[in-house]
């Protein structure tokens, strides 16, 4: 007698162990992919995992196999017009390989690609920052989430296929692909009518035109009704259900002395701060302010990737931040955070001025202000001035940073104050 058992309630993560083993074994490669991704990703973009590519040769499981060469008899199906004794030129090796690599999935045969989850991604990200485990957990943990519709994506599970959107895309694509041919077709048809008035039906001009028309017609016919390109899937993202709102100001020196490496460290610092804040606030505004001798509010792209040269006047950025607070983010409505990254260079006479702005205008309004100096050597006037602020305001943190590992102590300060954790 047959027995039917419903196993669906059983655990679904049998492969988790093996998956973990795999990630551990190829940690180096995975980490490289994650680091590349971090430098490419936007600061606020930490809601999803990441596609990882590993060279196939690294994960190859070798066995004894036959190589090319020798004598082989191969039986193949689907003979079309070969007969006995026919000879076929061997396909050129390079051409054959290139052909097989240009697959529609966009990945070559020489790399193995897969996706890691948001948790796994963050785990690796935190690893570099040397975060204590408790903190890692609290940051990566997802509390209660509500699934929210968030538009459409071009890939997904078949069940999420959005038929209306897909068809709309298909329709638009068909129209747009057809229209040049169609207008040409109309023109040709008109021409044909005109010519037919003067010439006989089997004259060469008529035939040529007819052939052209047929060609166009078959071209139009060949436009696929639906193309993988048209597919749209419903996208749902999970949003944490949290309460109040916050704004965070990222200030960065972009003068010539801030090179790519320093900017990368600054970016990691900003990401971490942002992640901390997402744990607490439902909506977070980010304001990017970059400065050299003058400050400017910019978008993220410009913030990290445009180079400027020239001197440095830090106070310009602080002034701009203060203006923004006054005009847009009143302190009684917003939780305000500030983070500043710099290599410590400042025009000497400007440093006391910076202190004043911070002490008098900014510090009373913000929850927390963190300053990191990415500079292995001695400190300059700005550091000294800021040290005085630290003695007055407990919500001011400053840290000298050489590598990504040094970032975390700044956050330990944050944790000491507990106010971030308690509110979660």
């Amino acid at each position: 007698m047959s027995q039917i058992i419903d196993r669906r309630p059983n655990s679904r993560n049998k492969s988790a162990v093996n998956r973990r083993r795999f990630l551990n074994r190829f940690k180096k490669q995975v980490r490289k992919s994650v680091n590349d991704a971090i430098s490419k990703r936007s600061i606020a973009d930490f809601e999803h995992g990441e596609k990882i590519n590993i060279p196939s040769k690294d994960i190859n499981e070798p066995t004894f196999r036959h190589g090319d060469g020798g004598i082989r008899n191969i039986i193949l199906p689907g003979n079309k017009n070969y007969s006995r004794g026919d000879r076929i030129k061997l396909p050129e090796k390079d051409a054959g390989e290139a052909g097989s690599q240009a697959s529609d999935s966009g990945e070559g045969e020489d790399s193995f690609s897969f996706e890691i989850s948001r948790e796994e991604f963050l785990d690796i990200f935190f690893d570099d920052l040397a975060l204590p485990n408790l903190v890692k957990k609290q940051l990566a943990q997802t509390t209660s989430f509500t699934m929210v519709r968030a538009g459409f994506t071009s890939d997904g599970v078949p069940t999420n296929l959005n038929v209306v959107r897909t068809f709309r895309n298909a329709l638009a694509r068909r129209i747009s692909m057809r229209s040049p041919s169609e207008s040409k077709l109309k023109k040709l048809e008109r021409e044909l009518e005109n010519i037919k008035l003067t010439r006989s039906n089997d004259s060469t001009e008529v035939k040529e035109l007819e052939e052209k028309i047929n060609k166009l017609k078959s071209k139009i016919k060949k436009i696929p009704f639906i193309d993988p390109f048209d597919l749209r899937y419903n996208r749902r993202v999970s949003q944490p259900s949290l309460s109040s709102k916050a704004v965070v100001f990222f200030l960065m020196d972009v003068s010539g002395s801030m090179d790519e490496a320093k900017k990368d460290i600054a970016k990691r610092f900003f990401i971490l701060l942002y992640l901390f804040l997402t744990r607490t606030y439902q909506t977070i505004d980010i304001v990017f302010i970059r400065h050299h001798t003058s400050a400017k509010e910019v978008n993220e792209q410009e913030f990290f990737y445009s180079r400027e040269t020239g001197g440095t006047v830090v106070s310009s950025a602080l002034e701009l931040m203060n203006e923004a607070i006054v005009s847009r983010y009143p302190a009684n409505e917003w939780n305000i955070y500030g983070a500043q990254a710099s290599d410590g260079d400042n025009w000497n006479n400007d440093s006391p001025h910076c202190k004043e702005i911070l002490m008098n205008y900014i510090m009373p309004k913000v929850q927390y202000f963190a300053y990191i100096e990415i500079m292995p050597r001695h400190h300059q006037s700005l550091w000294e001035e800021y040290e005085q602020i630290k003695t007055v305001f407990s919500n001011f943190a400053m840290q000298n940073i050489n590598t990504a590992k040094d970032i975390y102590p700044v956050f330990r300060e944050l944790f000491k104050k507990q106010h971030l954790i308690e509110t979660t």
Partner: protein, 522 residues
């Protein structure tokens, strides 16, 4: 309105088991019952069925452990999983509708996403098709023990977990990696392995550890040296006959392995052996299951148990399953075992029932006999290689338009040697049969000699056929794994039919060695 009421009437009259695409456990049971009845009439002998409904994620899990319901942990299974998950999530690939395990009771996994029609198809395919094959085919009868495999897998999983606890994950992984590299050489091809019994296995395992170790030590004893001189001249090889089961040889004779490492080798070897019949009967097994789901579902239809909509969906899926892409199709990935196997079994039935002149010449023994006995006999007594050699008919060759290509490294181009015509049927049949001969596809590598009195190096011999060389990229890696297990120099000689050594490979490479003659690589 009229047609609707008519429709309702006809529904009542015909007693369809299901009419929509939704399935329920009740419907599943009814299908199982109906199919079981039909299977009995067709004299299908099966193990009892254990049908398990699982979700997509669970199917992905099952996939990545190569179809074992439970397996030990290893990164390669994780790799498999990630691969499956990627393709599934991006919609590149559907999951199999079922997975079936050669065990008693026969476990079949059915996906919850399947429609009622698909569940019926899958029930017939897996629970009565594959199931009866597992029970009936001589290879499975001789080489696997359906009643104890699950228990053995539990034992293996626990044992390896215990080893990881005791010796560290990395160390165990290293041994497993090495074993996996030569797991195809862990199979007894001719000897019948002793029965697996878990209780004994567990009980014997400790005593075996001690015993094995003592055996190994005896082999490497160096004390008595009186008769060495005479003996050295007439050196006997060890093993005296070449050993094809490399893993077995290592398990018993590798000098430096710990007892637990020998047990791990044994586990990989046993599991490899369990899958060996499946590798040899892919065409037959799938062909048999497809033949029966086709036959059974059609019988359901003839008896009015399923409606036209059901049949349309069924036929749509069935044709997908047996679709054979032509060799020049971008989707071509070898001969579809479903198509070939189904084609041959269908043709056996046709030859029995409606033979042509040609069939009388080719299959005089089949013509006008009982087709059920004929297919049953074929299922029980053959494996892919012999099955094709015996039953591939000219009609199937014509249907698939099979042709033979000769690829010779010494010639600049490929030659078409045979196509589907009168003079070539026999040749195509032979060549295709050879294509399914596992021992022809894998390089023939055996343990040849161990230098017991010298540097303890082990020599493997690759006996070359048709001048086919070994894949060099993998070769060095596999040699490293072998070296890891053996502990002393590993040599691999490629030998031609005449016994001339063509090439020798070493691990570690001879520069680092203090002794040993280097034979030049040809």
């Amino acid at each position: 309105m009229d047609t609707e009421t008519e429709h309702k009437k006809s529904k009542k009259k015909h007693k369809y088991i299901s009419t929509g695409s939704e399935w329920t456990f009740d419907i599943l049971e009814k299908y199982d019952h109906a199919i079981k009845e039909i299977a009995k009439e067709y004299r299908l002998d099966t193990y009892p069925n254990q049908i398990e409904i699982i979700a997509a994620e669970q199917m992905m899990d099952a996939y990545s452990s190569v179809g074992m319901p439970l397996g030990y942990s290893h990164w390669s299974f994780g790799k498999q999983f990630l691969n499956v998950e990627k393709h599934y999530k991006r919609g590149h690939m559907g999951l199999a509708y079922e997975l079936v395990i050669n065990s008693d009771p026969c476990i079949a996994y059915l996906m919850e996403e399947n429609t009622a029609t698909m569940q019926a198809l899958v029930l017939a395919h897996a629970c009565y098709g594959h199931n009866s094959f597992f029970k009936g085919n001589y290879l499975f009868r001789a080489w696997t023990n359906a009643d104890s495999i699950i228990d053995y897998l539990v034992f293996a999983k626990n044992y390896i977990a215990k080893c990881e606890e005791r010796y560290g994950i990395d160390k165990v992984e290293e041994v497993l990696d090495a074993c996996h590299a030569i797991k195809n050489y862990g199979v007894d091809r001719y000897r019948r392995p002793p029965k697996l019994s878990v209780s004994e296995e567990a009980a014997r395992q400790t005593s075996r550890e001690e015993y094995l170790q003592s055996q190994v030590n005896d082999l490497w004893r160096t004390l008595p040296s009186r008769e060495t001189k005479e003996q050295a001249q007439t050196t006997e090889r060890f093993p005296s006959e070449p050993e094809e089961n490399i893993l077995y040889f290592f398990e018993k004779n590798a000098p430096l392995l710990e007892p637990w490492e020998r047990e791990v080798i044994r586990i990989v070897r046993k599991i490899s052996q369990y899958f060996y019949p499946q590798m040899q009967t892919k065409v037959m097994n799938e062909g048999w299951a497809t033949f029966w789901h086709y036959t059974i579902i059609n019988t359901l239809y003839e008896r009015g148990l399923v409606n036209n909509a059901f049949m349309v969906e069924f036929l749509h899926n069935h044709t997908n399953v047996i679709y054979q892409a032509a060799f020049d199709d971008p989707n071509y990935s070898g001969i579809n075992p479903y198509t070939l196997g189904f084609g041959i079994f269908q043709d056996i039935r046709r030859i029995c029932e409606n033979p042509t002149e040609e069939d009388r010449k080719w299959f005089p023994d089949l013509v006008n006999t009982d087709w059920i006995s004929a297919v049953d006999f074929a299922m029980r007594n053959y494996k892919d290689e012999s099955f094709i050699a015996q039953y591939l008919s000219p009609k199937v060759i014509r249907d698939l338009k099979l042709f033979a290509v000769l690829s010779d490294q010494d010639k600049p181009d490929l030659e078409i040697t045979h196509i589907h015509n009168e003079e070539s049927y026999q040749d195509i049949r032979d060549l295709l049969s050879q294509q399914y001969n596992l021992s022809m596809n894998e390089p023939n590598i055996q343990v040849y000699n161990v230098d017991k009195r010298g540097d303890r190096s082990i020599t493997l011999r690759h006996i070359q056929r048709n001048n086919r060389p070994l894949e060099q990229k993998d070769l060095q890696e596999v040699m490293k794994h072998l070296y890891k297990l053996w502990g002393f120099t590993v040599k691999l000689e490629t030998v031609n039919d005449q016994g001339t050594v063509l090439a020798t490979y070493y691990c570690p490479t001879p520069e680092k060695q203090t002794t040993g003659v280097i034979i030049s690589d040809s």
